[in-house]
Symmetry: C2
Subunit: 405 residues, 2 copies
Amino acid sequence: MINIAVLGYGTVGSGIIEVLNTNGDSINKKAGEEINVKYVLDLRDFPGDPVQDKIVHDFNVILSDPEIEIIAEVMGGAEPAYTFVKAALQHKKSVCTSNKELVAKYGPELLEIARQNKRNFLFEASVGGGIPIIRPLNQSLTADEITKITGVLNGTSNYILTKMSKEGMEFKDALKQAQEFGYAERNPDADILGYDSTRKIAILASLAFGMSADYEDIYTEGITKITDKDFLYANSMGLSIKLFAKAEKVDSKFYAMVAPAMIDDNHPLHSVNGVFNGILVNGNVIGDVMFYGSGAGKLPTASAVVADIVDAVKHLNVNIMSHWSSKKLEFTDIRQSKKQFFVRIKGLAKDKLAEVEKAFGKVQLVELDELKDEFGFITSIMTEEAFEEAQNETQGIITRIRIEG
Amino acid sequence: MINIAVLGYGTVGSGIIEVLNTNGDSINKKAGEEINVKYVLDLRDFPGDPVQDKIVHDFNVILSDPEIEIIAEVMGGAEPAYTFVKAALQHKKSVCTSNKELVAKYGPELLEIARQNKRNFLFEASVGGGIPIIRPLNQSLTADEITKITGVLNGTSNYILTKMSKEGMEFKDALKQAQEFGYAERNPDADILGYDSTRKIAILASLAFGMSADYEDIYTEGITKITDKDFLYANSMGLSIKLFAKAEKVDSKFYAMVAPAMIDDNHPLHSVNGVFNGILVNGNVIGDVMFYGSGAGKLPTASAVVADIVDAVKHLNVNIMSHWSSKKLEFTDIRQSKKQFFVRIKGLAKDKLAEVEKAFGKVQLVELDELKDEFGFITSIMTEEAFEEAQNETQGIITRIRIEG
């Protein structure tokens, strides 16, 4: 029997208990050992709940119990998670976490402590909820040099964008609906401003490129400026708009960004709708591989944590994660990266096209019958820097959205 | 240094050498050892090729060399692959294979021999080419009871169907083009009649349900009867037609089949086009997860074999695959399984609808302006058996295609 402790009895924590209760027999068989939840750490009590007897309020009870081999940390936030996890690993307890903030901020340090102690620090659930992506990157795509990772990594913003696209809703109404359905938090900033995606792409970039990506270095733009009019254009062109997270290596330089992007219907992420996530990985020999599934939610996330627990049981004293180097992954300013841009501008094409093409070079017009006092255009491929310069030379630009191929 | 041997210097075999040459440094780093190809087994010689010095014609040279720790078997076919692989495992050499026939036919036996010898029998490349699916099923989705696996598992037939759908090509022209581009073999039967998909879904079903699925028990229907007219109907309804491979557990009964199916644009496999493969896994806690990528091709397949080699190096004396039980997975006759059907029938709806609804119950009409002397309809959900009975009572049915949700 392997004794474990769960830190945090919130959504994911109670999901872990539910998954272990539901599939305990097959899970124990796959782990080769019976998994027993000995403690659940929470500040609250849960009278009447079956876990009440296992609730402890003091982490030191867990830390000092030599029977505890594995700890599932699902509290979220940097502290006290970091202090607890570090101490656990130093006390030779493996840790499985769903905490993207913890991994994005302290990943290399915690992986190194795990390695030194011949234990494991596993974090499948920190990116893409239940979608297997960390383990495939770590163990399956080992024959490849990863050249690019793009993802729809935030279910909340993707739900909002999908509602705007399919039902013509305005941003604020779609956000309100997402909140009503529990897909968005009361303070949705981390999701809709892109920061959640930034932390996740930093984790994926670190794993893919083997160095420490600092999420604070990553250009981040949220979805709050996307309007129903943008979707009129996108739909007319057969494009979808996604909050795109991207990390890539081009000519030995690394670029990363999070921003809304238009993608066409040949793109594997085009049909990632609603609260689903999709992660597209490009390797230099395997080509494109995509992973798709529920990016959040109690049970999918708990499923990923429990799968990590099973792996930790099977590798009690063997370190299995590739650790990424603590060397900083230096991103090149995205102003040097190249792409096409979609631009909306006030006025009539017949009056403004000459001015536009003087600044941007040859463009492709997108005019909509519904919108009489503006028009759209698509630029040729240009650097972000050249785009900015052209934008500054042009009057009346309403918005611009990047186009990703 | 770890010495390996490659059995077969065809497409995948030469791909393995190319992948090791291209990404050798990073592969060795991830493996923690330098991987050295000591032998390549082939009946032919390759004068002038860098591998010529490593070519051997006699498998016993490899088998009897104690320096060889791992063997990559990429010859294809049941024999002599089975004899070689069995002997290799008995001689305590791990085996990594891309050979779906071998795995579908001898999987449980070879896994058991590997386990007894504390070596590994790995076969990521046998299903879905480069797509990580075997390892995720084995190691990532361990918290779940898998309830259903559906897949577009054959790139050749999917290429043909995509050409028919997008360009209105007829079957024979699309097949000819696939052969010209090297996507279909001169004898394409295994692909277009569905047998390739059947072997692959048998492997996935065995892993997912932990028992041995015999591919000969699986109902198989190819794509040779699909016509451009079927696509007129499908496109008018926004549906795509895929060669669908499916294995599922419903009320403790197992069903499996390979057959063309219509799916709507909310289905994650809807946009798996061309030579790509997609595999959708449903687990009882994780929900839907999809894996997508190149289902075949020299380098993607070689990438999967090399990733297995890396895993075999990291687990030289540790058995890591869940072995499925040799207990036979008993499939229930698909005549008991339920779904909707799309049917094309000669005549005019106004003349025939009463007869149709007498046999099938209420149906949903699909009439096309282009096709004057026939019409289509969609049945309600019914068993295959009830469908057959109704079909036998009805005159003039041209074809039927299952609809999958």
